[in-house]
Amino acid sequence: MRFDVDSFREIADSLVRNKSRSLLTGFGVFWGIFMLLFLIGGGQGLKQMITSNFEGFATNTGILVSSQTSLPFKGFKEGRYWRLSYTDVDRLKQMMPELQTVTPVISTGGRDAVYGTNTSTASVRGIYADYQRIETPKIRYGRYLNDADILQERKVCVIGKRIYNDLFPDGGDPCGAFIQVGPVYYQVVGVDYSSGNISIGGRSDQSVLIPLPLAQKIYNRGRDVDLICTAAYSGIRMSDLEPRMRQIIAQQHQFDPSDKQAMVLINTEQMFALVDNLFMGVNFLIWLVGLGTILAGVIGVSNIMMVTVRERTTEIGIRRAIGATPRDILSQIILESIALTLVAGSFGIVFAVQLLRLMEKIVSMNPDNPAASFQIGFGLAVAAALLLTLLGVVAGMAPASRAMAIKPVDAMRDE
């Protein structure tokens, strides 16, 4: 094979000679590579958007929620209501050393938070300071609730991003201000900017966090709690602890430990696994569709090259008669095929990258959307280009072998 200016001119000549045909053939490859890269980028962005809902959430978390029993137990009928109580927290803490954190939550939804003339809808949640081990806060101003707040039952609160934006539209540090939620005034001590979308008794950006003992008193909750959030030490699987946790709670509240409906145990580990599986499926489809489209495009290239070779029988015959070796012809056809796929494919890559950039821009225009990266990596683009070269060779193979079979006498015969 000879690689010089002429080889490239020969290729460019023969591709440019039939512009519309080269264009249409190239479009197949262009669309294929564009589809694959765009889908990969889109899928990745979507995955990031969805996983960002779990942002700041410990992956090893189990959340206990009481519900209605579905089995009769020890003389109790099914369909009985029961409630988690504060003693369950202590019991889990003592009996399950694998749990790093056990912390209760009281939540009340839909209350008006008022500051001056501004109002916002808030869900008030009573928590302990160690709740931050379950849902990591992003403190923008001030601080999180601490143990002293809890012990002294101070009327202080940490507000979510949305509440902050609604009540303090001018921005600035709101700490020290008193906001009214329901009948009570609380002093703001911190702003939490985390935007995860897992709502445990309310979305975090709409919540007003107050000390739990205070919430119990204000909302007349006695020793009841709504949720118990637990986090296991790393390396321990929450699903392994689940039966024992059920056993402990069931014994206390007299329901059947095998009664899965009586107590809902939300296991984030399983949720993460679910999302992972979902995206594995989505990825599989992306690759199937993308590669399939590229393949269809490449077969198109091969097909057209086949026709081209047939049309150029005389030309190839002349070349052979004046001294081109079969190898010269082979390399010419294959290089033409590579050039066609590579040029068309590069446009596909560029177009996909530009469109993904646009999509990223559009998504980020809505402040409610979490930040997500739709762009494909540089490595992936290079790999795509390499793949195209390879496919160009494959596409050129059949036409090239046909071209090689052309005898120089054919030049004289086909007139």
Binding site: D6, R17, A321, I322
Partner: protein, 240 residues
Amino acid sequence: MLIELKDVNKTYNNGQPLHVLKGIDLSIDRGEFVSIMGASGSGKSTLLNILGILDNYDTGEYYIDGRLIKGLTEKQAADYRNRMIGFIFQSFNLIGFKTAVENVELPLFYQGVSRHKRHELAMQYLDKLGLTDWAHHYPNEMSGGQKQRVAIARALITNPKIILADEPTGALDSKTSEEVMQLLSRLNREEGVTIIVVTHESGVANCTDKIVHIKDGIIGQIEDNREHHASVFGTSTIMK
């Protein structure tokens, strides 16, 4: 002897076996201007293909300049064609999307000659054939005679041992035909190029110095025609 054929046989096996060449013996010396003449179906095209290493023969021997041409690989055949033989075709067979000078350069491209050098050489040959002004025109912008002269330049550029012309005037009118034949004869006389013309026209054959008559795959008469005494209708016709 530059070209020697000894008892060359060729049979085509497309369904019905067709014995085209039945023992051809032929010698052509350096610097000769020979025509091979015969009606269609006489085997002259097959003979030309064998002479031009475009086709294989079954039995016998074919030497160019003492070198046996038999059982060559495609690569060797291509190399021999490139270096030893220059082709002139009836339909010119120029590559339509290349300019005259690019067409003339092409054999040197396959020899791996550098771009600059082959361009220079191609321009020299075009100049020799009076086509300098047409060097950057495409074949479809030229007349038949000009195209054939480009083809002749392309055949000459590798400085081959033999020029094989297959009906070189077949697609030209009588005036240009005469010009092309005169050009070939001048090349033969002045440059000593060995030229073999395959034709069925006696007028064309008459321009050459030696006429080899081929009929039904056998060489008939070999006529010495240095006097160019034949009429345009050939010596053997009643219209002489």
